[in-house]
Symmetry: C2
Subunit: 343 residues, 2 copies
């Protein structure tokens, strides 16, 4: 299996990306690194290696898409950017999946424009695994598209549900609609309409729809798949991240207050590290972009080598499960009208 | 000063509400309790008191609005409910402010329908103080209305800013717009339009608008007032609450794992309690409903006596600062057209 890695994407590119990619190479995983050949080779040298290790290939790309460029224009105009080259390789079957820690917008637009969506899927969606008090749950969409229709949300529910079955090995995942209350009358017209579509899919036996779920209960294990528009999903995720960061910083300060608290901190160090690790996006490694014909994984912008290597392993697993094929087979259940828009 | 308290609202009514109200009574604060007289007297008896303490008045109301009733219909039809009676007393100047831990929807609709909004204010908004790594910030709206227009958001920004100045004593509060990125091009059409209105208010010197703010940075002190529609505000708040609850539970478990961690937990107990307290909604006491002619405070549904007593003190402080009067004076800055809808 071959995973294409955008070596120039992310805050710590190319060094950490290259390092992570090399860590991920194994009997079953080869990688193609796209980006400025010289820079990539220099990163490899920094790791103390004299030559390109077995299982690693470099495809040269002279340009880089920065975080503040208009996503679609960047992919279209910078034809020799590390991301565009990587997307072309994926489309041309030169690799089986793609990992990038670059601009989310560019990855979403680029994957849609170059690799294409599964036919009938209206929008791709970012579906991270969010830690909670159980094994975690899939949030979909966490920010690929800020604006959504009820049909998109229906499709997100199917995508998230299949993905949870395939990747998390959850039987009949409990699908909840993110809302500001549990009653079916809650939310904006978007949630009201989506509720009806999801309820019907539940009654038809296509989904295990459990109704509206509030943000707080989702974080405490109420569902396996949380469906929402990308704007709300972004707020949900970033608010939780902010609160986690706030508390963990306060705890850090607490344990350094004086000798007694310092001692106490040392005694629970191992356990604290476990809690941090569970909330750490590096350990999770990457967010699946669902609805695209082939697996595309967005790694966190601040990814270090470990995060990149985990993202590559997640990409390899996604190739094995092939959720896209399942979407294609079941697309008729996910459409509310026959018009097919291919943006 | 006299604060009207809905004695039957909330999960722990009437006992905890009555207890909290009696705790709040002081030289400057008297209370009127509305609800079933017998039940209220029984709660007072349970506290070991033989008669109604000085500064406490009971106004009988035979009905109770439950959490699952349609808010506006409940207020309109249950004319003798503890909340409706309380609202009528407030409108008729029998008291200076109102506190209720009852249904949020009923309080928002009821306050709008009975007490009325400040003329020109399109929608009332719930504005809780959210703890962060600084002194906290005002979130507005956190769920009074799920659907908003850009003009509502502009008005929320003014209301939040005045409130932060009046209640938190912050000079020139930094007002941010909740968005899924900091660039002015981010968000749905609602955020795009609101951004322009807020930018103009900033240029005119009416607001200290600092631009778009992501949920994570807001939690880490990026702004003093975070403006959003009620749906996103609800997601923002509940997601953070869920994460806080998740981590604090994990910490609790950690400290009981074995003798060493138990000891360690005892050593930092005091400090942990401080962190918990800072995140505890009971300590904050209540959420101001801004845009109504007189102060209305929504206490948390699960309020205990301490939370109610804090909410009553917050109500008294709100009477002193009188943000509504300031809104009335400055209303021309907050309107984008002259049509006046009074829902």
């Amino acid at each position: 299996m071959k995973i294409i890695v955008d070596a120039m994407g992310g805050d710590n590119a190319p060094d950490e990306v290259v390092k992570g990619a090399l860590e991920a190479v194994s009997k079953n995983i080869e990688v193609i690194l796209t980006g400025r050949g010289e820079d990539i080779l220099r990163s490899i040298e920094k790791m103390g290696l004299k030559e390109l290790p077995r299982g690693v290939e470099i495809v040269n790309a002279t340009e880089v898409i920065s975080m503040d460029e208009d996503p679609l224009n960047a992919v279209r105009n910078k034809k020799d950017s590390s991301l565009t080259v990587a997307l072309n390789l994926l489309r041309d079957d030169r690799g089986d999946a793609l990992v990038s820690a670059g601009s989310t917008g560019a990855i979403v637009s680029g994957a849609t424009f170059v690799v294409k969506r599964v036919r009938g899927i209206r929008r791709a969606a970012l579906a991270p695994l969010i830690p909670n008090n159980a094994g975690g749950f899939i949030l979909i969409d966490c920010g690929a598209y800020a604006e959504c229709t009820a049909e998109y949300l229906l499709q997100f529910a199917f995508m998230g549900s299949y993905y949870a079955e395939d990747a998390l090995k959850i039987d009949s995942p409990r699908v909840g609609l993110l809302n500001n209350g549990t009653e079916p009358t809650k939310g904006t017209p978007l949630q009201l309409e989506a509720y009806k579509l999801l309820e019907k899919a539940g009654q038809d036996g296509d989904l295990n729809f459990i109704g509206n779920v509030e943000a707080r209960s989702a974080m405490l294990g109420a569902c396996d798949v949380l469906v929402c528009d990308g704007f709300s999903g972004n707020v949900f995720l970033k608010s939780a991240e902010g609160m986690a960061s706030l508390i963990l910083t306060e705890l850090g300060n607490m344990f350094t207050k004086n000798f007694v608290t310092l001692l106490s901190g040392m005694l629970v160090k191992k356990h604290l590290r476990k809690i941090r690790a569970r909330l750490d996006s590096d350990k999770i490694g990457g967010t699946m972009l669902l609805g695209i014909l082939k697996p595309v994984i967005k790694a966190h912008g601040s990814s270090n080598a470990t995060a990149i290597s985990n993202a590559i392993r997640a990409a390899a697993a996604a190739v094995d499960t092939d959720t896209a094929a399942r979407l294609q087979t079941n697309i008729s259940r996910m459409k509310i009208d026959e018009a097919d828009d291919n943006m």
